[in-house]
Symmetry: C2
Amino acid sequence: MVEPALTSDDLTREAVALDAGDPLAGYRGRFVVPDDDLIYLDGNSLGRAPLATVQRVNEVLTSEWAGGLIRSWDERWLDLPVRLGDLIGTGLLGARPGEVVVCDNTTTNLYKLVQAAMAIRPGRRVVIIDRDNFPTDRYVLEGVAADRGLVIRWIDDTGVDGPGPEHVADLIDEDVALVTLSHVAYQSAAIADMAAITEVAHEAGALTLWDLCHSAGAVPVDLTTAGADLAVGCTYKYLNGGPGAPAFLYVRDELRPELRQPIWGWWGRQEMFEMAQGYRPQPDIRSYLTGTPPVLALAAVEPGVAMLVEAGLPALRAKSTALTGFAVRVFDALLAPRGFTLGSPRDAAVRGGHVTVCHPDAGRLVRDLTAAGVLPDFRAPDGIRLGLAPLTTRFTDVSRGLARLAALAD
Amino acid sequence: MVEPALTSDDLTREAVALDAGDPLAGYRGRFVVPDDDLIYLDGNSLGRAPLATVQRVNEVLTSEWAGGLIRSWDERWLDLPVRLGDLIGTGLLGARPGEVVVCDNTTTNLYKLVQAAMAIRPGRRVVIIDRDNFPTDRYVLEGVAADRGLVIRWIDDTGVDGPGPEHVADLIDEDVALVTLSHVAYQSAAIADMAAITEVAHEAGALTLWDLCHSAGAVPVDLTTAGADLAVGCTYKYLNGGPGAPAFLYVRDELRPELRQPIWGWWGRQEMFEMAQGYRPQPDIRSYLTGTPPVLALAAVEPGVAMLVEAGLPALRAKSTALTGFAVRVFDALLAPRGFTLGSPRDAAVRGGHVTVCHPDAGRLVRDLTAAGVLPDFRAPDGIRLGLAPLTTRFTDVSRGLARLAALAD
């Protein structure tokens, strides 16, 4: 017997029940939500604003900046990059204390780490990356390749499941210095097998550099166990750090003494306030700092991260897979029959925190959907990316948002 | 007949009269000043917080971020780096529209411009900088030199007056690719002759890169007329952008098409949202952007700069030289007799917005002065740096602050 097709109403009833049983539902009240009816499905481009962040930034503005003035550097701000790095690293990335620091943006951090990595593999002239990686990752590698005369070997056509150890194994040899991949693919949300790929890279003597932008705060990451060498990521998606919030970088502790990043600034120097002659890097992760960090933006990162750490990765991941799993159910019922295809893995075990659905008319649909009060992300040429944030997205956002999308495609 | 020595009371009376006649006195009321009795003489390390900035940042937090969410990128934020760049460039630096952009920090911008400059002088292996330049400027050059096998020629022992065209002429030849100097010296406040030094550099075929951190907003800068090639500067000193606020960079328009900066990120690419294969730099100053800029910190820059532009550089410079001139008068009356020496030029025409006084016991004196409610800056080994911000420092801050310093040295 064929099961009767689920209707939009069935799915909405299911979503209401899922919201009622959601142990993380209360967190939404800890964010600034001026329009509760707006259906926000883009929390993986820009996470919502925590109430505590508005309070924290105002404390920085009026008490620490206007009141404390220059004294606040010593009293409050100097250790922010390292303190936030440890909060993110030990709380969400499986890093050890002192391995993560918050500074600059993802692009600049990628640049620093790629240059540093190449310098300790001087005989090797090849780097591996996939064509579907986020543009800035590709462009940074292209820039360093142009500068140093490197060859890029591209992983092509991996489809919805993204690059696996077999793709890396096909391309790797002893000319390869570095393998740069995203842990969660920004389009498909495919989770790469970090441990297996790192093993393939290490067997050939290459280093791995992971982009964690779409992983941090949504997907368990265990850099230490996976043996990852280097990583970067942003804080403005699931970490709710605010638009363009500073990025983080990770350097495996055993590797740090060997590595030297190329942008030698006063924040990376030992005893920076001595302002002495000659650069000597800090003996710790601060050697990856460049110049003065943007305190307002940096301070805004902490409350969101603290909330995620409080909720805990097991609960975040459970809610995340429930949300994406439910989105796939709604896709099957309402979107597949209307000519959409699924641009993300069906298997929750290898799917990150978003779901991409594809349609030839995606550009127009996203414009109309936005006008109808549902905000997804358009990813050219045909992707509609639904970012589902465990602390703020409701199951009813998914059912209602995708019902509107289905209606627009009729 | 010898003029009778001025007493502290005489100087305070003089200061009260100067404050009463100060056409910019009203601006102080447009800043957040929680403690009006605090004597803040460090506005060139961290400028005070404008009231309008607190309001603007809150608008970004609640209306643009929490309310507009991802839509605010298109509607409000995308052009911030360029809009702010033009406001600073055309309003305060004598640049033409499209020559200045706000991004990253001073260190990273220095790095980008030094690398870009070296690449278009490929046969030349020498860079010139002075030993007294700000540490990050020196360290960045050392890093690029280590990377590219360059030789640094150091300008030494220029004293209080800083490097002049004669120092550059002594070292320059056709091996020199780049001359990197500060326009206003961070210790002595000496103003370098930008036009004359640039001429010396250009005659030998070298480029000039100017650090404007201590110039912008306090001293007239005319990059176009001086023929300067490249420049950088921060926005957290006289521009009141907030702690660690993003920096600016300047590239002379005629030079831009030739130059290519090394950090290739998605914000520097044409049609960035196409996320296409292959880096192609923006056809304008945006090619100097790297990754996503920190919006909270960036938005905080605008109100302070707008206020300076409103006050106008002639009025700012007049107040600045009056403040530093008065500080030198107080120095002569109260500090010179107590064993202090002047660490800044006497001639106001070549003195920037701060005055440095030197004392063998400077470290202890700054600690005691801070405890006594007067905040200067300690610059090892013996400098006490008095930053006098035209919009917020009162003449009575100078007279009272230095009277307390004199008392502590007794």
